[in-house]
Every structure is written in C-alpha cells, then in structure tokens.
Symmetry: C2
Subunit: 197 residues, 2 copies
Amino acid sequence: MNADRKEAKRERILDAAVREIAGRGYHRTTVSDIAGRAGVADGTIYLYFKGKEDILVSVFERAMQRFNKEAQRIVEDGAGNPEHTLRRIVSLHLTLLGEDRDLAVIFQVEFRHTLHVLELLSRSRMRDYLALIAQVVEEGEAQGVFKPDVDAMFVAKAVFGILDEMATDWVLSRKNFRLASRSDTVCDLLLGGLRVS
Amino acid sequence: MNADRKEAKRERILDAAVREIAGRGYHRTTVSDIAGRAGVADGTIYLYFKGKEDILVSVFERAMQRFNKEAQRIVEDGAGNPEHTLRRIVSLHLTLLGEDRDLAVIFQVEFRHTLHVLELLSRSRMRDYLALIAQVVEEGEAQGVFKPDVDAMFVAKAVFGILDEMATDWVLSRKNFRLASRSDTVCDLLLGGLRVS
DNA sequence: TCTGATAATGAGTAATCATTCATTAAATGA
DNA sequence: TCATTTAATGAATGATTACTCATTATCAGA
C-alpha cells in the first residue's frame, strides 16, 4: 500500500473520529464507533494509531497544523501593519472554528478532558500559535502603535482567552449566528479598551 | 440525624471529591476513591448524591455559589465606581482560584468533560456570574466612564475569557507565581486597550 | 431500657469497552 | 501463475467500576 493511500485512510479515520466524538463525547465514543464510521474493522484502528487517546491527540495535531499554517502566512504577509494582522488572526480563528461545528465542539470541550491530555496539547502546537500572536504584538510595540511594556505573551494569552470564550459560547448557544461575525467587536475591545479615553 | 450533621457529611464528600478528582481526573477517579477519602462506605455516596456525575455538578454548584455571593457583595458595595468594582471582581476571581489549586484544576479542566456537563453548568450559576459582570459594565456605560454601545454581555464574556485563560495557564504552568498577581495587568489591558491612544 | 425509624455498610452484579491476535484477504513481483 | 509480504479483520478477552440492596448499626423518643 503506497504512502498516499495509507495517509488517506488515516485521514478517513480522523474525520470519522471528529464526527463521532463531537456527537457523543470522547468517553462515550467507542473505538468501534469510530471504526464503523470510517468503514474499517476495529483492529485496523490500531494499525494507524497507538490507541484511543492517540486518535484524539492526532485530531488536535492535524487541526492545529492548519491553524498554524494559515496564521503563519498572515503574519508573514502583514509585517507592516500589526493592527491589521491581529485583526486577520482573530478573524481566522473564529472563521476556522465557525466553519466546522464538530471540530469546534472538540476544541472547546473534548480536548480538555484531563489535565494529562491538556498538558500534552498545550506543550505542542499550542505554544507555536500563541508565540505567533505574541510576535505580532511585539511588532506593534516596536512600531509604537501598541502600548509598550506590556508583556507580549500575556497579551497573546488574553487574546486567545477571549477567542476561546467566544467559541465556547457559540458552541453552547442555541442561536444560529456566525461565529466570525464577532471578530470586529473582539478586536475593537481589545485594541481600544473599555474605558472612555 | 439532624440537618447540620447531614450537611457536614455532604460537605466532607464534596471536599474529598475535589481532592481526588483534581489529582486523578474525573474519569480515573472511582466512586470508591471518593468514599474512601471521605471516610464513608461506597453505598453511602448514593444517599447523598444521585450518582457520580451529580457529585461533579454539586462541586461546581457549591463553588459557584461562593463566587456569586462574594461578587454580589462587591457589586452592591461599589455602585459608585464601576472601574473599581470591575477591578475587584477580577481580583476576586483570580484570588479564589489561586487559593485552591485543586479547585482550580477542576474548574479549568474537569468541568469541561462533556458537552452535556458543560451545558448543565453553563445554564445555571454561570449565567448569574456573567450577568453580574455585565451589570457593572452597564453601570459604567450609563455613567459615561465606559464606552457606550458595547454589548455589556459581550464584554462580560470577554472578561471571563481572559480570566479563564489566565487560570488555565496558571494551572498548567510549572512556575510558582501567584495567580492574583495578574489582576492589575488584566484590568489595565481590558480598560485601556492595546492601542496607543 | 426498649422499639421503630433512620442511616450506613460493602460485597456482589451486570455491563462496558479498549485492546489483542489468530486468521483471512489483498497486493506485489518474479 | 505462484509465493511472499503486507494489510485488514472481528471475535474473544480481561479488566474495570458505577450502582444496588440485603444486612447491620445507630439514634431518638417513650
């Protein structure tokens, strides 16, 4: 079996996992469920993944890779204008999650299953993502458009926190608004602050 | 058995649950573990709680009740000065979580176990807490010290998002800083914004 | 002290599921 | 076509654990 077909099957299993886990939650989803939806036998799963938890982590890795690739591109493109770059990253974050509710459910809920898993995830691609945001903030400070002496990583975490809460709220909400429609409001608050100046 | 003693035993079980669940995660913690630490028999648990999930939800309810009571007091006290009130709420949030790492672990990680549980929790005391923050924001807008025309509930969620991320970061971090020490930085960013004015 | 009621016990039950591995199928290439 | 390697299968296993309930202990009032 060539590498492409192998990769395609792995992808199919991951796609199946996203749908099943979003629907029933990680712990209620059995390996059989995932195998069934992917159209393979239970045992086959173990030819592609070390175990159930490895599937969850792989879903995360794959999604974060996409996030990072796109964010990276935005940062590279928009070197001259930190505010605009930040706006584009915020928009990207909310757009990508808003486009796939199942993925959003997994991101906002299922990944946080145990401290152990969360630690695993936080140490990997998550740091890169935060570092990218921090880089933009630093650039803005260097250019004098953002306030100096605010720790860039702190701001990055704050930005992430707001986005995360918006996404969770959207996932839990019954209402049918587009998540990305919040982008501007988020950025305006973040950049301009709450206080009347 | 009088009501006080009954309540005390219930509290003991909840305390035991906090310690056990923070240490091993909700799913790895058995009902036996909790019973053992609380010094009661397994079956006794079911005289006080409907089942395992009910313990988790009750831990949340109890903690949120404390949060809400304190926050309520702050809001009532500080009617005249919305900025100061907001600062006190932020400080309260980070202080209460920062004082009890086990509780913080449960808040930041274990409560988010399933969409189902998260929905349960979000609908209850969580809304009250957000509404309290929103109330302060609205007051500020009415007094002309906060920007008008920003949806107060939106701001409340943003505030919560930042606090949540700070708390998660603290829980996952190896470093030993005091969580509450972030209060001022959080508020400064929130009130003043990132952009140079 | 006696008695009915209330509270607590903990061994047993029944169900669940991740993982394994002996077997079968498919692919490869000579 | 046949032999060999690689991939896939799915029934069986073994371990786990939430919850029940028949039994025992404790308590409160007379």
